[in-house]
Amino acid sequence: MSKGELPKRHYLNANYNVWSWLLSTDHKRIAVLYMISLTMFFFVGGAAAILFRLELMTPQGDLVISETYNRLFTLHGVVMVFFFLIPSIPAVLGNFLLPMMIGARDLAFPRLNLLSWYLFMAGGVLAIAAIVGGGVDTGWTFYTPYSTTYANSQVMAMALGIFVAGFSSILTGLNFIVTTHTMRAPGMTWLRLPLFVWGQYATSIIFVLGTPVLAITLMLIALERGLGIGIFDPKLGGDPLLFQHLFWFYSHPAVYIMVLPTMAVISEIVPCFARKRIFGYSFIAFSSVAIAVLSFLVWGHHMFVSGQSLYAGLVFSFFSMLVAIPSAVKVFNWTATLYKGSISLETPMLYALGFIGLFTVGGLTGLFLATTAIDVHVHDTYFIVAHFHYIMVGGAVMGYLGGIHFWWPKMTGRMYPEMWGRVSAVIVFVGFNLTFFPQFLLGYLGMPRRYHVYAEEFQILNVMSSAGASILGLGYLIPLAYLLWSLKYGEIAGPNPWRATGLEWTTPSPPPTFNFDQTPIVTEEAYAYPPLTGAPADEKQFESVAS
């Protein structure tokens, strides 16, 4: 394994022409296009958060006026959910790795893949236009009749942007499902697939079945707002709760779109840095599918106090408890993988272990919300905000960063600086907890969410949260800097710096455009790490490059 030089030709330098990038159907180039655009959206959404966390340091509204504040939190939610989290891992890591992990040359529909990126960008441009044109002040949830009849903001433009971007999701999901079914290399049976593939597959089921409902719901908003057709506003003969049912029917499974891929990343990182086959492979694989299916049965847990019937509430509460179980099973299986492993704490592993802890807290607090009588008190308070940020930021974003670091050598041919990687992971972990843990306390104390001004007794916890946010922001800026730096100055990685199992690691780094010279033939289970005995001779083969 020579790691002195990058391979002469690979997917990045195959062609330098701008059009060879903008019209590329290579899944790896499309993944890079997504990575760049998603990073920009992440920092736009993050900038809004910095502004409103600054405002929230004092109980009064003294940094911005209420109209602006309401647009800031809406921007943050819409951009982070629809233009960062939902595409993130599938569009970047899924696109890059799925074909490689199954031994294929590309996805089943490469041109459709390119179209997905253009749809995402078109939706994104519309969203930016809506923001620049004054923004939206409805919250990312667009509850009616406020959004259809009363809001005096760019609802139509933003709804159109999300509508268009949704088709990006649907096509990606379709592509992944067909690819997984039809393009696995010889010997790559379903139960030999890396769990990353199982995770993308389960996510794709949700993409394809759920997103159309969102599209229709947005269309109905446009019909009522634009043409006055009564669907949600009682003054026009409509029902405001109909909107909530339609919206959450998509948006609850959407949160599993945000978490299943990140769990899939963790399932790749932990075995590699514990040098051990994952514990409970089939349980984790089937849990992913179970979560995808159950996720469609729980949407009404967002509506316990909405005026929905009591009995509906109980049914949704029951299923919400059930959907937690497969996630718990995964957490225990990841922890058990560490037992009798040979563990090292490189940056991806730090992110993965941080994920497990924070996801556990986020998931357990989800049970509080599934418990109807408790949700009555904490619904629409900062308890909810804390819960979903533990999952989406402590979970999904940490998994995304862990995955980016883990596969960075494969994607770029270079290593990032390990010390800075570890330092940032710790800063993110500390900053995250300082930002969001106080919000659980604020929520139970009764501070409602989406409040520009608040009762003065809530100030101390708000100051803590804002302080944490500044640390968290720093933790995100540092990787941006060193990852860019590493593109030119990072140590050459070679094909498999982590000595990981998986077909993607059998190719050069960066890989050639067509991935494999010959279709690989698979004869082993996933995570076929050699058995460990603890004998010193075994240790040498596991020395990782980045120590």
Partner: protein, 332 residues
């Protein structure tokens, strides 16, 4: 109002202690599992760190199924307890006792308008006596709002076009936050108020203060203004269902269905009269949408509730929570 720093809001209603007890159970379970995972991870990472000389020979495979089963069934059992306990308490939170003080709440961007039965009106404040159950009937004039009192641990969305109800029983005199908890536009965070819980004597004094027109009297004025009696109380004109004693009466519709005439039915009959037609009558009532606002509807309903049925009509069915509206026969 108590503004000192605390971790739990003060308990000021009969529900609060029950909700907090369930919360503490959930906290205990969550803390246990968080610590368990945290400790296991830290322990394994340390004990099995790369380079540590420790026995790593794989354990026998039998333990696999026991572990998977254990860590599936124990969480399942615990979540079912949470579900059941929560469901029971959720029911209690939604089933008021039969003798509540009934108060109407009209939410609009960005204020709470409270109407007491005796006529007292408040904005962004609600005076109630301690240790008596209170039931709010709420509706919005515009968008969805939500009536939230953290110290009572209760919350209910307030919708346009439909009544929602909320009950609670305060246990401690004092002033407590009222927050709007459903984002409703520009001044959502300023749509706040005070729940003022008073001792009985103080509350009685407060009720007396100021010249008030009772809800029923205001309702009668509207009844006359809009000439409802022309159809509904005119022996020479049997085109319309008589309204004396209508509240709580069992009503048969022309599609064969039956219902009990409650507040929501009366409201719908005024604003959307052709939605349900009483058996034996024609759909000829005009709508009063746009002419009578939600406040007026509250008052009309209070008036209608006060009408005694004529002697030859069956008595109204017993409906819980009818409240203490004074029954005065205001028409000869």
């Amino acid at each position: 109002m108590d503004t000192s720093f605390r971790l739990f809001p003060e308990q000021a209603s009969t529900a609060a202690a029950q909700v907090d007890r369930l919360y503490i159970f959930l906290l205990a379970v969550a803390t246990f599992f968080t610590l368990l995972i945290f400790v296991l991870i830290v322990y394994f990472v340390f004990k099995y760190r790369r380079g540590a000389r420790v026995d790593r020979t794989a354990s026998p495979g039998r333990r696999f199924w026991i572990l998977e089963l254990t860590w599936t069934l124990i969480p399942l059992g615990l979540t079912m307890i949470m579900f059941g306990w929560g469901a029971e308490l959720f029911f209690k939170l939604h089933h008021p006792p039969p003798d509540c003080i009934e108060i109407n709440v009209l939410a609009k961007q960005w204020m709470w308008k409270i109407q007491h039965a005796h006529g007292k009106q408040e904005i962004n404040a609600l005076h109630i006596p301690v240790d008596k159950p209170v039931k709010l009937r709420m509706i919005s004039e515009d968008v969805i709002h939500s009536f939230y009192v953290p110290n009572f641990r209760v919350k209910q969305d307030v919708l346009p076009g439909r009544y929602t109800t909320l009950w609670f029983q305060p246990t401690k005199a004092g002033r407590y936050h009222l927050f709007c908890a459903e984002y409703c536009g520009t001044s959502h965070s300023r749509m706040i108020g005070e729940i003022v819980v008073q001792e009985q004597v103080e509350y009685a004094n407060w009720l007396q203060g100021g010249a008030n027109v009772s809800q029923e009297a205001a309702g009668l004025k509207l009844f006359e203004q809009f000439r409802c009696a022309t159809c509904h109380d005119n022996p020479a004109n049997p085109r319309c269902p008589p309204l004396r004693g209508v509240f709580g009466r069992a009503v048969t519709l022309n599609n064969g269905g039956t219902l009990t005439a409650d507040e929501s039915y009366l409201r719908e009959s005024i604003l959307d009269p052709t939605a349900k037609i009483v058996a034996g009558y024609q759909p000829i009532m005009p709508t009063y949408k746009g002419q009578i606002g939600e406040e007026g509807i509250f008052q009309l309903i209070a008036y209608l509730k006060s009408l005694q049925p004529p002697r030859d009509m069956p008595p109204p069915s017993q409906t819980p929570g009818r409240g203490s509206s004074t029954k005065t026969d205001l028409k000869p």
